[in-house]
Symmetry: D2
Subunit: 335 residues, 4 copies
């Protein structure tokens, strides 16, 4: 196990998936100790730091990477396992952004109405207590919420020679904003270009399902990942696995298409890996799926569908990759 | 506490919300012991009972009701608390229905492709073990899934002089198909016509989130509900409450509109009942919501958003109605 | 040819399709001279008559009817030919309505933003010059636009025992808001209940495609229609025919589903009536369709697709019904 | 007037907007004589040339370009005027493509159904008669349709460091597939990167509105364009102008968002350039818009809204650019 440590300088951030040269070469089996800046480049630090004032578009959602994975070729699958995700500061921020979010008109769902006001909320992060503290801006209400760190953005270079903004989720992963991307999860991404060229970013101390206002509890993160490669097997849409569930993530608009993609992919996965006939898989999934919406605010919306392993026939997804990466994580922690 | 028992004859089923005379008068505080037929009128009993053969449209999803609630007037809110939901047979059924479901073209999402094949799955229901058994039609795979009984359809007569098919969810409730409609839940529905005229039906032994193929584990149910009335307070979209969560349910197409309705309604509810300023509620909801999709197959899609009471300021929704109905349920069980 | 004249008293308006007893019996071959009130019940007469002040919901979009057509049974098709549509007053009105229209959030596309301001525009109608005059409310700009009278709402009682608000377009017709519903057009509607129970209303002096702000140049109309019946032939979605085109109208959300419905219906129609194989029809339609959007503001959106008869194989739709109704119209005018 | 002639070698095609170095430098005022290959790279030449056999993804929809426009900077607007578009062969092709098109499930609107069969139609192009001939594959039906040449794809490099597949329409233009992109039209595109880096391709001999099956009458084209630059004025979404109309084009999913974008942009344009107050523009547009749908098959759907100049206050859009480019076109033709 080689351990690689990388902390990007602000000049090294990536703002797209694809179209950016790699910052490091890594190889399957490596463990990476990374630092990721928050989605606002660390610039929203107080209640007066309105996004419209402190952010210059398109410099939003900086990514750490991309990393060139030796041996990764189109048609393979990259596996990224989250060993550790820890806030690197004792505060985090959230806010409204003009014409961004689920409960406002946007540049796409365009109306003639005025944008909502811009407001910033600063959260205290207590890593020891495992809490973040919400404080109302109007009135006195305060409540501690569980710290549940995750990465909103995980992806590889897209297919078709495209370069996509780090704000976009699609088949290459990207800004999926699912709370399932937490410690203990393995993310499978289909490789589209030589070296895969993966990046991560957009740490959240926590978020609700849907990321309704468009902004989670945003934080810089110290994150450790273990990576590996499944040669010769393609993965059409991002898949996730943890000790209890297998999951598929679809991203599209309208939201029902994100749902359809995730569920068709899960039917396919159940058929290929667990031996279900297609309609048997459809029926089974209908009765057992947990389907947490990820985001309803980004350029594509994202849905995740989950199937509990305890309901599945015996069998290890991707040849047991998740178990092996769990072992790597254990070995790393036990050094 | 008056206990009213009602088991409809097939000739007494309602097929719409609105447009149907009441079968009984009831009053706030009553407990109703009801029987509901399954969504197929009990006609899908074996693997050869294809819906296209045994069902004559529009005679699908029969409802038990409507009930006229004394004193209910437009502008009031009806509260229906689920005391008990028990399968009334030792089997249940599911199937594919041509051009119905999330992973097929439909009469709305119309394409030129052939429909999927019709297949029926029969589940064994073991009320003692609290399981239903899935059996693959192709191959040998069998698995016991937890019994988690619920009603897919709960509603009142709609506004605007409309009568809506029992297949439709909308502001009046109806075919929302959310697994949250289980024992221990109180459902709040705005009253649109004198007497409210509520009905229930469409029992499910369980379903996944989204009811992907369009058909859950469908079963006739013996169901006990306690009802009450909140005078002079309107409820724009269905709301639910259990011991741990408050919830809003929105129904619309596309699916993001169902999400928007549910979340705007929850922001409104948090503001009115828990004292949040609007944008503070938006921010709070963004970080704490659990947002299980209900159905992605019916004429309107349904989303539910949930907020855990442990994160909320003190305060009882609807003047403590849920607690009082819990007490009624306890008194009923303790008779 | 029997000519029936009917001018409803305000107490006789219908506010739904379905759920209303007929006002008259008519028979195939009859000509009806009708008066229809405007969508606001004639209450928006000046710039201070804001809808929120002068309209009590759901008393909006009054319909003239329903009419019971003798001999009409489920599975038949009703043909309604527009012989004449003339504004019955020398003014018409339009306005913004809070949370209604394509360029605002709505009760379905719900956001936390403020509604747009309410504004009323009054148009002068010059029936002799065939113009309506737009006058800006801010500034001096005035322009004469061509008078192009049409009915936004034409429909029959829906299937499935439903009653639908006159604001809703769907398979039963209703509030489609297509400018194609003008003089010289025959509208075909599938019959769902004995007598068909059709109504018309919502006259527009003109509208753009999409009825963007939700309100056309609304006017009371003196309208003459000729009706007939195609026995034993069902029509799944509304179809229109004029001297130059055949058309299908689909209504649904999202808007692509309305498009899909209209185009699948046209492929079906081309196949059944003009002898195209299905994929040949799909290809042909792809290259020749004109597809004017009708409304993007109502509870369902509506798309129309048109095929020019000059590109079609010989053949008369519905056995030459449109030609026969043209003849009836000629005979009526020539009396 | 400098006239530049450029015919790309297949190795010089561009497959994306953005991410590709320029093939030529040009300057405002130049006229370009270009050749564009058809969307299939000329490989669908007969009825057995199924796309799944002859096309290797992502090598579809080749673009001629990009061209670096001297002096073009972010915040400027590029104007491209179509002087001539002539089919360069005497045949053109169309076909079904698996899981592509409006009346089939797709990779986004994913279902479990089988794709439609692949079929190819070859059209005869008669440039003298100005016709293309449709021939049914099953049966004998043949019909001559008017030749109406246009470019489906016209665009510049996108913002945000993105590179987008030539199949995608968005704010940078791209694969809008609107029949309005014909001779006599000026297309305005906001410049996002130095030099604008525009390309064109995807010639169609004609198409219906919506490009329903996803494939128009595809043809290689000999095309002449005149280009110019509006310094210091941004254009948020593509706009078009011809002698009779001004137009805005929005691209998004769901389709109502494409409609919203186009109509909000037109309200903005009417306000900025023709002096309408916002709500006056909204009202005016509601009554006068023609809104032809462009495509309902690409990764984003596209809507165009048109306003007839005869209804507008006096005033020349973009300082009279369209008129000047008309003059350039006249001078070029008169050489």
């Amino acid at each position: 196990m080689d351990v690689i440590t990388y902390r990007p300088d602000p000049s090294e951030f990536a703002w797209t998936f694809g179209g950016v040269p790699p910052v490091r070469k890594v190889k399957p089996g490596d463990v990476l100790e990374l630092w990721t800046e928050d989605a606002f480049g660390g610039k929203v630090r107080g209640v007066d730091d309105l996004v419209s004032k402190v952010i210059e578009f398109p410099f939003v959602n900086p990514q750490t990477g991309p990393f060139f994975v030796e041996g990764a070729e189109p048609g393979d699958t990259l596996a990224i396992h989250f060993v550790s995700i820890e806030p690197s500061r004792d505060w985090a921020s959230s806010c409204t952004v003009p014409l961004f979010g689920a409960l406002t008109s946007t540049h796409q769902t365009a109306t003639l109405q005025e944008p909502l006001p811009e407001v910033v909320w600063i959260y205290e992060v207590d890593a020891a207590k495992r809490t973040v503290t919400y404080r109302a801006r109007a009135g006195e209400y305060t409540v501690e919420l569980p710290l549940d760190p995750m990465h909103g953005t995980v992806g590889v270079a897209p297919a078709s020679f495209e370069a996509r903004s780090s704000l976009v989720p699609d088949a290459h992963g990207g800004n999926m904003d699912t709370p399932e991307m937490r410690v203990g999860t393995t993310c499978y991404l289909g490789v589209n270009v030589e070296g895969a060229l993966f990046s991560i970013g957009d740490g959240h101390c926590r978020q609700g399902e849907g990321e309704t206002c468009g902004v989670a509890v945003e934080a810089a993160m110290d994150t450790v990942i273990a990576i590996d490669l499944v040669k010769g097997r393609a993965t059409p849409w991002p898949r996730l696995e943890n000790d209890s569930h297998v999951m598929s993530a679809g991203s599209a608009r309208p939201l029902e298409d994100a749902f359809r993609i995730a569920h068709v992919d899960m039917v396919t996965w159940l058929s290929e890996e667990y031996g279900f006939e297609t309609l048997d898989a459809y029926q089974f999934l209908t009765q057992v799926s947990e389907s947490p919406v990820a985001n309803v605010c980004d350029p594509n919306y994202t849905f995740v569908t989950k199937v509990a392993k305890r309901y599945l026939p015996r069998g290890d997804a991707y040849g047991g990759m998740h178990g092996r990466l769990n072992d790597v994580a254990g070995a790393y922690r036990g050094r």
